[in-house]
């Protein structure tokens, strides 16, 4: 059959695609804060991704140079605002390292309880928001319903629901209130069945698997090269968790706790027989694995919480050291990283011997995790970009500081 020049099929085969710049953000709902991505696209294929950050830059480091370490605690809340407790903890430990303070036994276990509980809350948002990124709304509701209960628990502890300023230099501002542990235990008991629901909603959902398995594969080498940490690094199969491998000042909090680093070994995660199996389509280092690591970390955090309850109730001593608000800092510098829910959060403090630090620096985990996007988003479909960026679980407040 001959084809005439004005045959409509010719037009169909002759659709030229031009390179086009597509601006995603700065207020795209699926970019976890105010992130702007400029995509260079050819049809549906993305050839280049340029992230533009800084929309939430609040000069935290500069502010830190004008306040005492205790006064800086509320500013750390506002870095990763979904894991304020973990940010407080990172900064408090760094200052304690510089001041060479020894923290009371009870404060250590209290910190484990609070930090792990916040990890659960943070991963719940990560999970729910990731569902939103991929176009499903219901997991978000399930996740926020549970997170709400954790926020209630935090409110009982310190009066705040988001910006806690609870863990502070020397311990915590208050001891846990009477009867709080029982309430927390009850919450854990109610929460455990919900994890199975979340797995049913997302982990084993065939649409979810299609959207995430084999997408945005990051090799272990790439993850290390770009300084990725946390679930992003472990999702690529690197066995590294600061709660086990970090500095002694941090790991001693977890001394004697039974826990395994959540990382794939020979196709299996620790204790994964209780949870959905890895789908055939998934490749180590893809979006699905990053998501799955987070889900298993929630279970692990619950386990750690239960262990911490026992230790906390038998621990003696005060919940905090008594320190002056404007305590003089010794001359010198200290750098310490902790395992926050989104990766390794590092703080660096330089002191010239006064009570106000000479220099404060916050090393953000999401900042490094986000810097791989241009590698991961090369040659993918536009629809995969939110899937990839979402799987990194970034919080812009922490990136821009």
């Amino acid at each position: 059959m001959s084809i005439e020049v004005d045959d409509p099929r010719i037009i169909e085969f002759d659709v030229r695609t031009d390179e086009m710049l597509v601006n995603m953000g700065p207020q795209h709902p699926s970019t976890h804060g105010v992130l702007r991505l400029v995509l260079r696209t050819d049809g549906e294929i993305v050839s280049e991704t340029t992230p533009h950050l800084g929309y939430l830059h609040r000069c935290a480091e500069k502010i830190g140079e004008n306040l005492t370490p205790r006064q800086f605690i509320p500013y750390t809340d506002r870095m990763d605002y979904l894991a304020g407790m973990n940010m407080n903890l990172g900064w408090a430990l760094t200052v304690e390292k510089l001041m060479k303070l020894e923290i009371p036994e009870k404060a250590k276990h209290l910190r484990v309880i609070i930090a792990e509980l916040n990890r659960v809350a943070s991963h719940l948002v990560g999970m729910g928001a990731y569902g939103l990124d991929l176009g499903t709304f219901s997991p978000f509701l399930y996740a926020f319903r549970e997170r709400e209960k954790i926020l209630d628990l935090f409110e009982m502890v310190c009066g705040a629901r988001l910006t806690y300023s609870y863990l502070t230099v020397g311990g915590a501002t208050h001891d846990l209130p009477q009867g709080w542990l029982q309430k927390c235990e009850k919450f854990l008991k109610d929460f455990e069945p919900v994890i199975a629901e979340c797995h049913a909603l997302l982990t084993t959902n065939s649409i979810f698997i299609k959207r995430t398995a084999g997408i945005g594969v990051m090799s272990a080498e790439m993850a290390i090269d770009y300084g990725c940490t946390g679930p992003v690094l472990r999702g690529s199969g690197v066995d590294h968790d600061l709660r086990r491998d970090g500095e002694e000042r941090y790991t001693e909090m977890y001394d004697g706790y039974a826990f395994e680093v959540i990382v794939e070994k020979d196709g299996h995660y620790p204790r994964d027989h209780q949870y959905p199996a890895v789908p055939r389509e998934a490749i180590l280092g893809d979006c699905w694995h990053r998501f799955y690591v987070r889900m298993l970390e929630v279970v692990q955090a619950i386990d750690l919480l239960r262990q911490a309850f026992d230790r906390y109730s038998t621990a003696k001593g005060p919940h905090s050291l008594s320190l002056k608000l404007g305590e003089k800092l010794p001359k010198g510098e200290a750098y310490l990283e902790t395992e926050a829910p989104r990766g390794q959060m590092g703080f660096y403090i330089v002191s010239d011997g006064t009570s106000i630090p000479w220099r404060v620096r916050a090393r953000s985990s999401c900042f490094c995790n986000l810097s791989v996007t241009h590698e991961l988003c090369r040659g993918v479909l536009i629809a995969d970009v939110p899937a990839i960026v979402g799987s990194l679980d970034i919080v812009m407040g922490e990136i821009d500081r």
Binding site: G54, H57, K62, I224, D225, G227, H240, D245, Y335, V350
Partner: protein, 177 residues
């Protein structure tokens, strides 16, 4: 930290004058490297099997400058900038800090940014961290593939983490002070 003085001695033997100082008893032990030898030393620290510093935690810059003249007399240091690189070795689980001392301005001409070679070829983490350091502390990283501001707007004036930084009076018609 890599074990003891033997590490420092072998480094000193290998690189000689490029290693300009150390403090191995500090909270975070550090070595000081001349700007010209930075890339070479970093490459070695990353690839040497007994060290394998394959993970760059953080790059930052500290401005040692006291604007108040009365206080400046008591500080005990000459004005300078200090680049600080925090390294970690995933296989060996050790960390090390590398420092580079720089003048506050290149050739002491105020406004000319001091220069240091980029290590973004050694660790990709350095790419964004160096952009941030350029943006906030005002260091020019020679050989950096894309040295643009990252947190401040591209047309921002000045480098806010310098101790003598003054906030611009206005930005695009917005009064700042």
């Amino acid at each position: 930290m890599p074990s003891g003085p033997s590490f420092y001695d072998s480094l000193k033997k290998k690189f000689g004058g490029l290693i300009t100082g150390e403090n191995l008893t500090a909270l975070d032990p550090w070595i000081e490297v001349a700007p010209d030898g930075l890339v070479e030393v970093c490459q070695y620290l990353r690839d040497e099997p007994s060290l394998r510093f394959n993970f760059l935690n953080c790059i930052t810059c500290v401005d040692y400058f006291e604007p108040d003249e009365k206080k400046a007399a008591k500080t005990g240091w000459q004005p300078h900038l200090e680049m600080v690189y925090h390294l970690y070795s995933l296989p060996n689980k050790i960390s090390l800090v590398v420092k580079v001392m720089l003048p506050r301005w290149k050739d002491d001409v105020a406004g000319e940014l001091p220069e240091v070679p980029t290590v973004s070829g050694v660790w990709s983490t350095a790419d964004w961290h160096e952009r941030e350091t350029y943006d906030l502390s005002g260091i020019r990283f020679v050989g950096h593939p894309n040295l643009r501001r990252i947190l401040c707007p591209e047309d921002w004036v000045g480098h806010p983490l310098r101790k003598d930084y003054e906030m611009p009076l206005e930005y695009h018609g917005i009064r700042n002070r």
